[in-house]
């Protein structure tokens, strides 16, 4: 009993500290995930020196092979507070390019550790949808959750390896500050009041990750030279890995294609 109590206290303590630190940087929140990763590359050097001079860049496009399924229509009529585009975001394909694929360096960094950036990553709820739909974050990094809707949401992540929680956020409530301690890919987050609301958080231990945009593009910067396994993960289509060797100051293009059958 006592032990768990103590553990809980430390967790809450850590949480409180992270809250404090996150509060300082509130202005900085409007960032796409791509840029976050870019920024994180620099502080990473502090933990394990990565010479920015030799840092390489990996980028590419993720394609979808086959006919994209028609996005399901969502009936939002049950809550008058929900307005906006009502299409499911499970597989978003535009011109053969697949969005919302989480790309990260899965293997090859060895035992390097990286500093956790102080900036919070923002998860916004508006139009009874999550923005972004797929989010990348470093373990321990603060996620700031906002509610821009005139209705109450509840944020309910259902992780496998992290602690589960479920908190309500009434309209105009203060943003929630949360973080995840352990690595976990495609950690589902949902709102119990709006069953269609769903997003995925990806928690990784390094700053080398990105999420493809509508045009299927991604970019990972600041990689030190080496051999890596890069993983492409999609919520429905699963994971695909690719090995890549990066030389100093390299600019590699790594493309990936998901097949329709994966569903």
């Amino acid at each position: 009993m006592k032990k768990t109590c103590l553990a809980m206290m430390t967790v809450s303590l850590l949480f409180a500290i992270s809250l404090l630190t996150a509060c300082n940087k509130k202005e900085n929140t409007e960032q796409s995930t791509n840029t976050t990763s870019e920024q994180q590359a620099a502080p990473a050097g502090a933990a394990t020196p990565i010479d920015p001079a030799t840092a390489a860049k990996v980028s590419g496009t993720v394609k979808f092979d086959g006919t994209a399924p028609k996005p399901a229509k969502i009936d939002m009529s049950q809550d008058p507070g929900c307005k906006g585009p009502n299409e499911a975001e499970a597989v978003v394909v535009e011109g053969g390019n697949l969005a919302n694929v989480f790309v990260y360096v899965k293997d090859g960094l060895g035992s390097r550790t990286f500093d956790v950036p102080n900036d919070a990553v923002v998860l916004d709820q508006s139009g009874c949808k999550y923005h972004p739909h797929v989010l990348g974050v470093m373990a321990g990094q603060t996620v700031e959750i906002k509610n821009d809707d005139p209705t109450t949401h509840n944020i309910h992540p259902t992780p496998k390896d992290n602690r589960e929680w479920n908190e309500s956020q009434p309209p105009q409530a203060a943003p929630l500050q949360k973080n995840f301690a352990r690595e976990e890919i495609m950690l589902p987050v949902k709102c119990n009041q709006h069953p269609w609301m769903k997003m995925y958080i990806n928690v990784v231990k390094n700053p080398f990750f990105a999420v493809t945009d509508k045009s299927g593009k991604y970019e990972i910067k600041g990689l030190p030279p080496g051999d890596y396994t890069i993983a492409f993960v999609h919520e429905k289509l699963g994971e695909q890995d690719q090995k890549v060797t990066v030389a100093a100051k390299d600019t590699k293009t790594v493309d990936q294609t998901f097949k329709a059958g994966g569903m």
Binding site: K3, M9, E164, N166, P170, P195
Partner: protein
């Protein structure tokens, strides 16, 4: 013989023995030293352990201290700490001057007291002595003279030299007074000092408390304490001595770390440069479950009652662990350590400490029941209903005799009274007669209870295997012999074990069973829709117990794997079974030992109707067995649903039933008699209901105390030697499949112990027949239960712990309070596999949680029951458990959570089981029984308005998720209707629930953070409706009270006001067709869960 030359000097006289003596003496001295060394060191290997402990633990403490110091720094950075620190600092600064002054005064007073005291005590002694003489002198003259002496002495002036050098003279009385004065003064001063210092100590205590509360580990100061303790340690025997239980355990003489407050692992005790933790590092660790030690205080329980071993012995590791030939209780090996729990907790089905389950033992207990071990082996507590039925029957007989005697006695007494000589005597006799009649009436009440009891017990009796009386109605005939040959070939996960039957035995057995089965006609069932059946099968919760294997095995192993059920089953029977598995073909009368048919009912002119309410035998009025003895419940499906599922299941096959070879021998009456012999020989009736074997006893050994059987009584047969010696030829199991069942693989070391015996027996039950020449009826009968490695380990642990305990009764876990209710409840929870759907212990995984369809859809999982007893009214719970639909007409749904596709089944619990279950849930949540409902205050109109506005505000849209009874809304609801709350819930629980539901049911859809604490009140966290202006009451309480007073009309009104006019105006068509609700809700679910499922 050649004459030897005669020596010059007489050898006898001249021979010197000096050298002999020298050597002998030296040897003697050496031996003495050896004996001393042996006593001091040779017999005390623990000294070496303690030396190592001092070295290694000190080193470990040094490293943990630096860690602790770092975390202390972190805590100290905390603003709260800084405030407290500042407060302490300020207090101590403030009081410093005052304190110094007070201390000086105190010191001065003490010195003066001392000065007076030294003179005073001396004089007082003289006065006392004189007084004594006065008291004891007899002559009055000498008394008088002594008195005078005393007087003179008391008046003498004594000089006191004060510390400041002043001298003062006092007579005795003045001296006494001065002494008392100064003493009182000093007391006052020291109190004053205490007052001055009080705020400082208080602040300091607060500061220290804060530190130790906020440190995960020990504080550096605490670690320093440990370091000092360690370095000051003198090697000595550490022992726990409890005379009451004859426990003398010196285990901690070597296992020095066992009770240390820090977590010590072998790695942390490994010396630098060592690769692997050595013997010392392994021994010096802390106890892996410190929580357990809190419940089982080592000062009372010692070590050996749980771990066994020879607690007294300190001469060698082997001796201390009891690993030698003549010690009856050797240490349980690490992997079987939980066997120790069984010693006292044999009656507990589930062992959990601090919500952590003891999985190995719990699984062992489960397996023993699930695999039907108790069908052949008696084990105290398992499957005890048949025994209870017997004892109840006996009690009934006894009471009946008693009653008869009483009646006789009454008549006799009354007769005597009539002829009594005096009225007094007559009255006395009459009184006695009256008392006896009252006694008889009480006995009648008792009889009634016993009748209920036996009714309950009949209902509670279950068999592990199916009822084979129905075999002709249920099964494909030709499939039966194939199944008997080797059940695992057909269904690898079946509970049916592999008997080693010859073809002839198979033929005989199947012939007997077939020919003794019922031949009644079954109602024909309409064919159903397989696709819908599949849907229902996967969503109604069938898979909490049953499994299906397409790509991989999915579902529970509690009941059968249905992958190939289509090959063996009869559709008509299957549909009926799914509709209500408890429905018997014919009731059985245990009194007549006969299956009762319609003809028996017809004879008495009764309708052929039998169920739990019609359970009396038409022939003799005795209690009938009216249900199938299966734990399979009724899911309250409509007949069409059952037909759909049955159709789906019938499609599950790998080959056509017609592909099985014709088994015409099953109709051969000649084989029947022989078959009966084999059915009896193999104890089939232990698990199955078979005609002619209803009262068959168990064929195996009783296992209740199997673990304490002397090893000589375990028959290793030809492998005794091999087991004792181990080595490469020590492993008797040759079959690779069975070999894989051994938890540690093929034996390398000697395995002549209980563990070795059980493991080998379980892995290959006939292993000890190997090499023996035996007749077919003499060979070991135990079938191969095809266990996995882990299961063998679990069961071995269970059996090893099944010992006759030598501990006094006060040590055994035989609670008489609510904990007993918990014990009893777990048996039922396990019996019906409640844990397949519900979570009872945090972290416990249910079968359903593991299913794919719930991975993204957890709100569709059955509710967690972590605090069920605190949540619901026990009376309501009883009603719910006996009828989960909460309705007698509209039963094809869940009573509380109609939005769940998974169905809470009707288990037809007996009154007995209902009582136990309700008590169990209450006890599990520490709720008192009986429950007296809390009175909810009636809200004023204003409060009602406020509560309503909160209840319906967009910030707390309760009715968005909670069902309202409006079908169009309820199809998207994910929480129960508030109208149920009044009868169902406990108000205090509701308050806790709406504050932090995650703490009560982790992962629930109900969000936390709705309320926040403000001025010792819980207020709504979101924007409060304007009506709350100026309200300073507790919002949480208000809302709860409102919910408990909610009427259907109010709810309807609120729902309507929440912009659900459209929903409310839905065509009434859907409303009335409640029977169709299943279909519609399924339809809804597909569109709804579209994102997630399948």
């Amino acid at each position: 013989m050649p004459e030897q030359p005669i020596p010059e000097r007489d050898p006898i006289v001249s021979k010197s023995y000096a050298a002999h003596y020298l050597i002998a003496t030296l040897l003697l001295i050496a031996t003495l030293f050896w004996a001393l060394w042996d006593e001091a060191w040779g017999q005390r290997p623990w000294k070496a352990f303690q030396e190592q402990w001092k070295d290694r633990y000190s080193a470990f403490l040094n490293t943990s201290k630096s860690k602790s110091a770092a975390s202390e720094k972190d805590v100290e950075k905390n603003p709260e700490y800084t405030t407290l620190y500042a407060a302490w600092k300020k207090a101590s600064d403030d009081s410093a001057a005052q304190a110094r002054q007070a201390r000086e005064k105190l010191d001065d007073a003490s010195a003066r007291l001392l000065a007076v005291q030294s003179v005073f005590t001396d004089r007082r002694a003289y006065v006392n002595a004189l007084t004594y003489e006065i008291e004891t002198t007899s002559s009055s003259s000498s008394k008088a003279s002594r008195r005078k002496d005393l007087q003179a002495y008391e008046n003498e002036q004594a000089t006191v030299v004060y510390p400041d050098g002043t001298r003062k003279k006092y007579n005795f009385h003045e001296l006494e007074e001065t002494y008392n004065q100064i003493r009182d003064q000093r007391t006052k001063l020291s109190l004053e000092l205490g007052d001055v210092l009080k705020p400082v100590t208080a602040a300091k205590t607060k500061l220290d408390e804060y530190l130790s509360d906020h440190m995960v580990d020990l504080t550096p100061a605490q670690i320093d304490g440990l370091k000092k303790k360690t370095s000051d340690w003198d090697p000595t025997i550490v022992q726990i001595n409890v005379a009451e239980a004859n426990i003398v355990d010196r285990c901690e003489s070597c296992h020095m770390g066992a009770r240390e407050p820090l977590k010590i692992t072998p790695a942390s005790m490994t010396e630098k440069g060592q690769k692997k933790p050595d013997e010392y590092a392994q021994a010096l660790v802390s106890h892996p479950e410190p929580e357990l030690l809190k419940i089982h205080d080592p000062e009372k329980f010692g070590c050996s009652p749980c771990h066994q071993g020879n607690g007294r012995a300190t001469t060698s590791v082997a001796k201390a662990h009891g690993n030698y030939e003549h010690w009856l209780w050797p240490l349980f090996p690490k992997e079987n350590a939980q066997a120790g729990c069984q010693n006292c907790h044999a009656a507990d089905m589930v062992l959990a400490s601090n919500d952590v389950q003891f999985q190995t033992l719990n699984d062992g207990k489960d397996l023993f029941r699930q695999k039907g071990c108790m069908g052949c082996h008696r084990y105290e507590g398992y499957d005890k209903e048949p025994e209870d039925v017997n004892s109840v029957g006996q009690q009934i007989k006894q009471i009946e005799t008693q009653k008869k005697e009483n009646i006789k006695e009454t008549a006799y007494l009354m007769k005597q009274a009539d002829t009594a000589t005096t009225n007094e005597e007559a009255n006395q006799l009459n009184d006695k007669a009256v008392a006896l009649r009252v006694a008889n009436s009480k006995l009648d009440g008792r009889l009634q209870q016993l009748d209920f009891q036996s009714h309950s017990l009949m209902q509670d009796m279950k068999k592990v295997g199916p009822n084979l009386k129905d075999i002709r109605l249920k099964l494909t005939k030709n499939w039966i012999p194939v199944w008997l040959k080797k059940p695992t070939d057909f269904r690898p996960t079946t509970k049916m074990p592999n008997f080693r039957l010859t073809d002839h035995q198979i033929q005989a057995i199947s012939a007997y069973i077939w020919q003794s089965g019922f031949t009644d006609a079954l109602p024909k069932q309409k064919p159903g829709n397989a696709a819908r059946g599949k849907e229902l099968f996967e969503t109604r919760g069938c898979m909490a117990c049953h499994s299906m294997e397409h790509d991989q095995l999915e579902g529970g192993t509690f009941a059968a794997n249905l992958t190939r059920v289509g090959e063996k089953a009869n559709y008509d029977y299957l549909a009926r079974w799914i509709h209500n598995a408890r429905e018997r073909t014919r009731p059985y009368c245990p009194y007549e030992k006969k299956d009762i048919g319609p003809e028996d009912y017809a004879k008495k002119g009764l309708p052929y109707k039998f169920d739990l309410d019609h359970s009396q035998c038409p022939n003799d009025g005795h209690e009938l067995q009216v249900q199938n003895m299966t734990v399979m419940p009724s899911l309250r499906l409509s007949l069409e649903d059952a037909q759909d599922i049955a159709t789906y299941l019938m499609s599950q096959k790998k080959q056509e039933p017609s592909a099985y070879a014709e088994a015409s021998f099953m109709d051969d009456p000649a084989l029947k008699e022989e078959g009966k012999k084999w059915v009896r020989h193999y104890g089939c009736a232990g698990c199955h209901e078979i005609s002619g074997f209803e009262d068959e006893g168990r064929i195996g050994t009783e296992l209740t105390f199997e673990g304490s059987k002397p090893i000589e009584r375990l028959d290793f047969a030809l492998f005794t030697e091999a087991a004792q010696r181990g080595g490469k030829d020590g492993e008797p199991i040759k079959n690779s499949e069975n070999l894989a069942r051994l938890p540690d693989g093929p034996a390398k070391t000697p395995w002549y112990d209980h563990k070795g015996f059980f493991e080998h027996k379980l892995a290959e039950p006939n292993v000890y027949d190997q090499g023996l020449v035996k007749g077919e009826t003499e060979a070991l009968r135990m079938p191969n239960v095809h266990l996995t490695k882990e299961q063998v380990l679990d069961l071995t642990t269970f059996l090893m712990g099944s010992e006759e305990t030598s501990l006094p009764v006060s040590y055994q876990y035989k609670p008489g309070d609510a904990r007993h209710d918990i014990q009893e409840g777990w048996w039922i929870v396990k019996k019906y596999n409640c844990m397949g759907c519900h979570q009872f212990i945090p972290g416990q995984k249910t079968i359903l949680m593991g299913l794919k369809q719930y991975a993204d859809n957890q709100e569709q999982l059955p509710p967690k029951l972590l605090t069920e007893g605190a949540r619901v009214d026990p009376e309501w719970l009883r009603k719910f458990l006996s009828n989960p639909a909460l309705s007698t007409t509209d039963t094809n749904r869940n009573g509380v959570r109609p939005y769940l596709k998974v169905r809470m089944p009707t288990f037809s619990f007996s009154d007995n089981e209902l009582r136990k279950l309700v008590r169990f849930f209450q006890a599990l949540s520490q709720q008192p029984m009986p429950y007296i409902p809390e009175q909810v205050p009636v809200l004023t109109a204003k409060e009602n308005d406020m509560a309503r506005s909160l209840f319906s505000s967009t910030a707390a849209p309760c009715l968005k998720c909670h069902a309202t009874g409006d079908p169009s809304h309820d199809k998207i609801a994910t929480a129960p209707n508030f109208l149920l709350a009044k009868e169902r819930l406990k108000p205090d629980w509701v308050e806790r629930w709406i504050t932090d539901p995650q703490a009560i049911s982790p992962g629930t859809s109900m969000p936390s953070g709705l309320f926040k604490q403000q001025n010792n009140q819980w207020v709504f966290a979101g924007p409060t409706p304007p009506t709350f202006q100026g309200y300073d009451g507790d919002h949480r309480k208000l809302l709860t009270d409102y919910i408990f007073q909610l009427t259907p009309e109010e709810q309807h009104r609120v729902a309507g006001s929440m912009g659900r006019a459209r929903a409310a105006m839905q065509p009434a068509g859907q409303h009335k067709a409640s029977r169709k609700q299943t279909a519609s809700s399924i339809g809804a679910s597909t569109s709804l869960g579209g994102g997630g499922s399948r």
